[in-house]
């Protein structure tokens, strides 16, 4: 009853579902300036350390018969390498380290964000937008450098009837420029949505009658979130590969 009353006071929920996304200084209080170490910074650093631990410390023995850590690292390497090679072809392999960087950062941020009390850097549009726009500008510049003006043939669907081509070109151009927006919002939205929904269910746990249901719902959502964390990292990476392929081979 007390909790409920308090909850009502606080605007309906004991836990505000969006509070978990607040970026605040990790040490002490104060304003967040560009160099402040925030909770976001700390979890990014943990993600970097985790990548280092898996890919460098895990493979330090260079064993022919791999240990468990090493086989996970090799699995990640083979997974992304094969993806890049399958989608972009042999020329795309040159850009494999960049794509691997994105994938490792996203997948570790997503998974580490699922720990209780953790912060998910990838749930912030600022973070995902930087990555998506980096991919967008990188791919666009690469396309013009590699193909020159013929990169614009990407928008000119030569297999369509001539009368339709201008309309299709318009649609293609719009969809091309929407790419970074959807690319970034998809990742941030998915991460934010899952965490917010878990928090909403956690808020219901304050009411004793539906608390067991809430626990079951949180467990189920958590399982889904584990899946989503990986799939969104995979999707971000595979879309990066697709965009890269468009830059390398713009002709339909």
């Amino acid at each position: 009853m007390v909790a409920e009353a308090k909850g009502e006071e606080a605007g309906g929920l004991v836990f505000h579902p969006m509070d978990q996304f607040i970026v605040e200084p990790f040490f002490g209080d104060g304003a967040v300036s560009w160099y402040t170490i925030t909770n976001s910074t700390v979890w990014m650093a943990i993600a970097v350390l985790a990548v280092f631990a898996l890919l460098v410390l895990g493979t330090s023995k260079r064993a022919i018969v791999p240990t468990r850590m090493q086989s996970v690292a090799e699995l990640a390497y083979g997974f992304i390498y094969k993806m890049v090679e399958d989608i972009c072809g042999k020329e795309g392999v040159k850009y494999f380290p960049y794509i691997m960087t994105l994938f490792m950062f996203i997948v570790f941020s997503n998974f580490l964000g699922l720990l209780p009390m953790a912060f998910t850097p990838t749930s912030h549009i600022a973070v995902t937008a930087v990555m998506a726009f980096a991919v967008f500008f990188g791919v666009t510049i690469l396309g013009f450098v590699k193909n020159g003006a013929s990169f614009l043939e990407l928008f000119w669907v030569s297999s369509a009837p001539l009368a339709l081509r201008p309309i299709l070109a318009l649609i293609e151009v719009i969809s091309y420029f929407v790419r970074p927006v959807s690319h970034s919002i998809r990742l941030a939205g998915n991460m934010m949505a899952g965490h917010a929904v878990i928090k909403v269910f956690a808020g219901f746990a304050a009411i004793a009658a539906i608390a067991p249901l809430s626990v079951v719902a949180i467990t189920a959502m958590y399982g889904l979130e584990v899946l989503v964390s990986f799939i969104q990292a995979y999707v971000f990476t595979i879309l990066t590969c697709v965009y890269l392929k468009d830059a390398l081979h713009p002709h339909h």
Partner: protein, 78 residues
């Protein structure tokens, strides 16, 4: 009083925006179901198309996420 009406409208709008997520659910189910139907007809070709499946699911799901985002914006940012 005026703020209350604005807030009411925002909350109603948020609820309406959540209907978009149902559309995304239908879309994702459609993609996955059609993939499964095709995969059962020709299982040997299914393995090569899982990437396409995930891309399709991601595109369909992104629209649901957009509507969810609109709902959140209406709830918390407007």
């Amino acid at each position: 009083m005026e703020g209350d009406i604005v807030q009411m409208g925002a909350y109603i709008g948020a609820g309406l925006a959540c209907m978009g997520m149902g559309g995304a659910a239908v879309g994702v189910g459609n993609v996955a179901g059609n993939f499964l139907a095709g995969a059962l007809r020709n299982p040997s070709a299914a393995a090569g198309q899982t990437a396409t499946l995930f891309i399709g699911i991601a595109f369909a799901e992104a629209l649901g996420i957009f509507s969810f985002l609109v709902a959140l914006l209406l709830m918390f940012a407007v």
